[in-house]
């Protein structure tokens, strides 16, 4: 069972039935909200496909015999596709084949299909903190033409909040952004490629676990 969930930017198309009295109040709230909106960062991040390649270390066995303690540490690999299967198992949902994990610019994580249509918002179970405000910028961006060739460095944190897998991994995302000249319609094709070496701790199947690996971002959008 799975349903299409609209991303916040696309939710205005959702069909809602709201009484007229409520509509006026809603409009007032929305109008007030516009004034309260914080200034958007200059850099509009790209929604990216998130791949996780992580090793998970945990204590498999400990035994004591006299003065000797012996232990075994087990290593398992965790990747994005396994996270998708784990999500399906734990949430009792079904995702169509070829679905991907997408990290939105606001840190939310979505399951999207191959055409980037959102299948499910899984931010409750996998979420990221992308510290755009702390971004270090290397390279050039033309604010008028939106042409860009930059390498950006910023902290990233990914949190797993599943029954079998709990924990947080952190690292510095090194992101390359290139945007060419606007096309005849005025849109720039932006390519993003990012890689972060991460580590962290948490639990796997109820046991203390340590993680290391990489997070990769790949985005391509027209803006």
């Amino acid at each position: 069972m799975w349903g299409v969930v609209l991303r916040p930017s696309a939710r205005k198309t959702a069909c809602l039935t709201i009484p007229n009295t409520m509509k006026a109040k809603l409009n007032a709230i929305l109008a007030a909200g516009l004034f309260l909106l914080p200034a958007l960062p200059l850099h509009a991040s790209v929604d990216s496909i998130l791949t996780v390649v992580v090793n998970c270390y945990y204590q498999q066995k400990v035994s004591t015999a006299g003065d000797t303690i012996a232990g075994n540490v087990d290593i398992v690999r965790i990747d994005s596709k396994q996270l998708l299967v784990l999500l399906q198992k734990e949430l009792a949902v079904y995702f169509p084949r070829g679905v991907q994990l997408e990290l939105a610019a606001d840190g939310k994580v979505y399951v999207v299909d191959a055409k980037s249509v959102v299948v499910m918002d899984v931010s409750t179970y996998i979420s990221a903190t992308v510290d755009v405000g702390e971004r270090l910028l290397n390279g050039q961006r033309n604010l008028a033409t939106k042409q860009e060739n930059t390498r950006n460095y910023y902290p990233i944190t990914l949190t797993f909040n599943l029954v079998a897998l709990h924990g947080t991994i952190r690292g510095i995302m090194v992101e390359s952004l290139t945007a060419g000249a606007p096309d005849r319609y005025g849109f720039n094709i932006t390519n993003e490629k990012g890689n972060a070496i991460v580590n962290g701790s948490g639990s796997f199947n109820g046991k203390t676990a340590y993680f290391d690996g990489t997070l990769n971002l790949l985005g391509r959008t027209s803006r």
Partner: protein, 180 residues
Amino acid sequence: MPRVHRCWLAGGAALGVAVFLLGYGFRPTADTSHRASAPPSRNDPPDKPHASPSRRVPGPLRQHPPDLPAPIPPPYPADSPEHQDWIASRIADLNALAWYDDDDSLHRILAELSNPLPEIQAAALAATINFGSRDAIPRLEQLAAQSRDPKQQLALTDAIAYLKRPTLLEKLDTPPESGE
């Protein structure tokens, strides 16, 4: 036209054909038939004919296994503006393939491990890891044995080591041993 001129023209034409064929390097044309069955992607590469022969990156030649499709060669010259866009598009395609579980997708990823472009090779290796199948290990081992680049060998052996590890799901499905 005097006979001497005709001979010169014929000779020149033959030489031109020979130069063209040598310049083209007798490279086999890419097998793009499998692209028809490709899973949907937002960034399908453009179906344009080869604009001009593209430059190959110098490196050790690799034997391409017959059971894998041929890697897709770049259709644009390396110094053209379309070339970088094509590479980005191919990288996105390989990344999209990695999220499937079928043999065809894996074979198409593995094929690109012997692509002449290092960017595509790297993307194919990343896609192989993300695909997560141990079926990729023999091909990775074969390439690691053939490679003369220590960096590439390390990347391939790291990928093999990662894929050989048990997965999170396999561990969850395994009943706990006594004494754990």
